[in-house]
Each structure stands twice: as C-alpha cells, then as structure tokens.
Subunit: 297 residues, 2 copies
C-alpha cells in the first residue's frame, strides 16, 4: 500500500486480521478517531459516499474499491477517494468503517471475502435498500468481533455510475439505520454520527419493519412503474405528459440493483402487489359501472 | 354590457344570435380578425388561457366567466381577462372563439346553455382531457352554424384555482386538436393558429384515438397512483422518497376533474387496467417464485 499501517488512535497497534500483529483488547472507536473508511463498489452511491467522506472527514483516509478495472481507472481519474485499492484486502485492511455499495445479492459473498482482512472492532455496513436478509448474512458470515449495522441512505438517481457521483448526493437525505437486539449499540452510535456528518437525517428501524415499509413505499411503486411501462405502446409514449413521465421515471433505474431489491424483499412486495391488485380490481369495477361514488370514495 | 357590439371584421354586422340583427352570409374568421375570445371556467387552466390571450392577442377582447361569484371576484382582482362576465350570455355573445374550461361532465349543459347566444360561425372548443363523448355532445347540442373542434392542451398542475394561473402555463405545451370527418377544416386551421400563438405545439388526432392513447398514458397512471396511495399506510408515508412522491403526485390532482375524465373515458381506462392487472399478476408470480428471468424479462 506504500502507506503507514493505520491503527486505533488510542492503542497504537495494528489490528488487521491478516498481518495480525496482536488481538489485544482495544478501545471503542470514536468518530473523531476515525482513520480509514473503505467503500466497496464505486457506483453512483458508493462513489458519492467516498466523495462526501473526503469533504466531511478531510483527515480520514478514504479508500474505494471496485471489482472492475475500468471502474477503478475511472474512479482514480475522477479522484473520488484518497486511494482506489486494487484488491479487497488492500481496501478493507485496517478500515474502521467498511461500507458495501454493490448490488445486495453480492453482499453475502463480499462479507465472506472481506472477513479474513477485517480488524476486530471494525464496523461493517452497506447502503442496500433491503435489510432483513443482509442482517442474517452478516450474523452468519462476519467475524464475531466485527460489528454489522445496516444503513439505507435514501439517495440516488435513475442515473448510474461513478461519473454521476457527487459529494452532496447525501445532503439532507434520510438515512435509515437498521439493528436487531444483537447489534452493538456503540456501532449504531458511531454510524449515526458518521451519516449525520455526511449530511443525512438519520433514523433507526428494525430491519423487518424497514423492509415492510420500504417494500410498500419504494419497491412497490417501482414494480408498478415497470408494469405501467410494460402495458404501454411505444408509439403512444410520444404523447406522454409529466404525469406519465414522473410515474414511470423510476422504472428506468438500474435493472440489476432493482432485481436484487425485489428478490431480497419478495415477501413484502408480493403483499403490496396483493393490496394494489385488490384496489385496482375495485376501481375497475367502479369505473366499468360508472359508479361515481365508488370511483372517488 | 356597456361595450360596442363586436362584429366579424369583414362584414360589420352583428351576428349574435340573441340580439339577432341578421343571419346573412359571413366571411370566415381569420386569426388576425379575431375580436373576442371567451373562456368559461376560471380555474387554473381557464384563467391561464385568458392570461395567455391577453399577452398573445393584446388587441382582442378577452372575457372570462365563472358560475361562482367568488371566483368571478378573484378573477377580476387578479386581472386575468379584459372582462369577467356576470352571465353566460354576456360572456359568449359575439365571441369568435368560446373555450370551455370547466369539468368535462358540465360541457353538455354548457353547450345547451350557450347555444342561443352564439353567433353563427363562432368556433367552440374546450380544454378537456377526453374528447370522443364531447364531440358527440357538440354534434347533438350546438347550432349547425357553430363549429366545434376539440382541444386538449397538455398543461396543468396538481394545484388548482385562478390564483395559480400563469400566462406561460401553455408555453411549449403540446395541444391536441381533435376532429372528425364532420369537423369544419377552417375552424381546425384557426384553432391550430390560435393555440400556436399561445405557445403550444399543436397536433391533431381523431377523438377516439385521442381517448385511447390518453386513457393509457395519462388517465391510467392517475388511477394507478390513486391505487398506490389507497394501498399505503399513512404512517409509512413519512419514509417516502422521491420515487413514491413522483409516482403518487398526480393522485393529488383535483378529484372532480379526474372523476369526469375517468367517467368519460371509462372504456379505455378499464382496458388499460386489464393490461396492468395482467402485468402485475405476472410480476407477482415471478417475484413470489423468485424467478429472476421473469422479474426482469
């Protein structure tokens, strides 16, 4: 890495599990003692997080990683982090906070791959839009002396890629932290401070409740937008006004990201679809019958 | 009315059917001979049309009318037209172009009420979002020497009321003119010029085709947005992001306006609902089965 190994501010020893100098007791991280933040995945959101970190924590070493060489190259050119690591080991070694910003279905594998390199006490989080399954994967896969907390910053765009990243993408965004009874409360506190410093308005939720709510108010509208587009004739769309465009805009989000969301929250989305289909059938009946009272209850 | 009777520019006689000076042959209206434009309904769109007319046709007398005294009062205070008429007769007498900007289900009655006061050769139009039924009403109710052409300017907002009217609401808006084989081609030409002068990008369609297309790309999204809102829990909505807000924004449009749209285009909307419900059931099945290929075809 060509860079002095980073240490806990108060102990002065390296805890990287890989080079494994020692496994002594360590003091808990404080945000002002933060030395290295790693973000895995240099898409729009991941790179916006590294950029926001560069601005909010100028003294903290910010590392980005992408499994694609071309993305690493672009990320370096765009200076979105202090370092763009060539390997996962290099990316997460000594990191105080590791953030996964890749599609959700890759998280379990990434947890597994980074586990050997994480230092004890490291906080691992992610920016995925579904949470219950991710908590299960983290519990199963991450070392017991590493703390997982779920993060869901409500920021993004239908655009994608490091080239659209902005250091203010998270400004005023809501960020949901998810935790279970098992989650380390200190890690929650640190992450709350961390996202707040990046400009987010942080709230906490149980991961199951998170997935139920977001299944209905975020994932379901996406599925509806896709159904609307699929039901429309291409040649009619030139007459589309702002209503149609706004309603269907979210359907143009990255398909793989949304696929993972849908697959990892299928139960809640199916529940929402049941509700909506029931509503639509009621409305269809009322509209067919030209029943004004029921069309507009 | 305290105002000199307006006449066709080229004949100099009054054709108002009410005071009925004569029923002689008249020359066809040219846009630069336009003397009086009347708009019935001083809502957001109606008042924006009068304001746009004041700007585009400063020499033309622009009259607004509302059946509500309070709206007439507000419209006068806001100076949205040269005159706010107290009665329908006063509003449409001698008008070259009469534009209905009230909810669609009132059109048949308005056609009936204004018929005695329209001068021969007057062009009657409207700004409604459905057209096939309105053409039928016009054919049945308006005098044979009055020309009906449908207009559908794609402009508006979820806001309503004369207080939100703007003289640039129509700028760059698409405006669909609808006509059947029976429609007077000169009247179509005049209205095409008229809306173009107000800044619209004018296209023409058969009213049935218009209703089919707009049923799918405008009215259906509205019904979907309403179904989505009705399927959501109020307490979850505080977590709503831009996707949900954009998708559901149109559901906050004026209920009576939308009720009329739905009721006068029920056949096409029901067709669209059938398509969407079919799509949603397919997606539900694929999501339940976690079938990635079918979720993202």
């Amino acid at each position: 890495m060509g860079r002095k190994k980073l240490t806990w501010q108060s102990i002065g020893v390296t805890f990287c599990r890989n080079s494994c100098v020692c496994r002594e007791t360590y003091k808990m991280l404080k945000l002002n003692g933060l030395q290295k933040i790693s973000v895995i995945g240099m898409g729009l959101l991941g790179a916006s997080v590294t950029m926001a970190c560069l601005r909010a924590f100028p003294k903290v070493f910010t590392v980005g990683y992408s499994h694609r060489a071309s993305t690493r190259h672009k990320s370096r050119q765009l200076n979105v982090a202090n370092q763009i690591a060539e390997t996962l080991e290099e990316a997460v070694c000594d990191a105080d906070i590791v953030i996964l910003a890749t599609p959700i279905l890759t998280f379990e594998t990434y947890f597994d791959q980074i586990a050997p390199f994480l230092k004890p006490g490291a906080i691992v989080t992610d920016v995925g839009s579904t949470k219950a399954l991710v908590h299960q994967w983290a519990d199963k896969t991450l070392p017991r002396d590493v703390y997982y907390v779920g993060s869901h910053p409500i920021a993004g765009s239908e655009k994608r890629g490091v080239e659209y990243a902005r250091d203010d993408l998270l400004a005023s965004a809501r960020c949901i932290l998810t935790h279970t009874a098992k989650t380390n409360t200190h890690a929650i506190r640190i992450l709350r401070q961390f996202w707040s410093e990046l400009g987010c308005n942080v709230v906490t939720l149980d991961p199951k409740k998170h997935d139920r709510i977001f299944g209905l108010i975020s994932h379901l509208p996406h599925v509806l937008a896709a159904a609307l587009i699929n039901s429309s004739d291409f040649e009619d769309m030139k007459f589309a006004g702002k209503g149609f465009i706004d309603t269907s805009r979210i359907a143009s989000g990255p398909a793989d990201v949304w696929m993972d969301i849908v697959l990892t929250n299928h139960h809640n989305i199916v529940n929402g679809l049941d509700r909506v289909i029931r509503q639509l059938n009621m409305m269809k009946k009322a509209i067919s019958a030209q029943n004004a009272d029921k069309v507009n209850p």
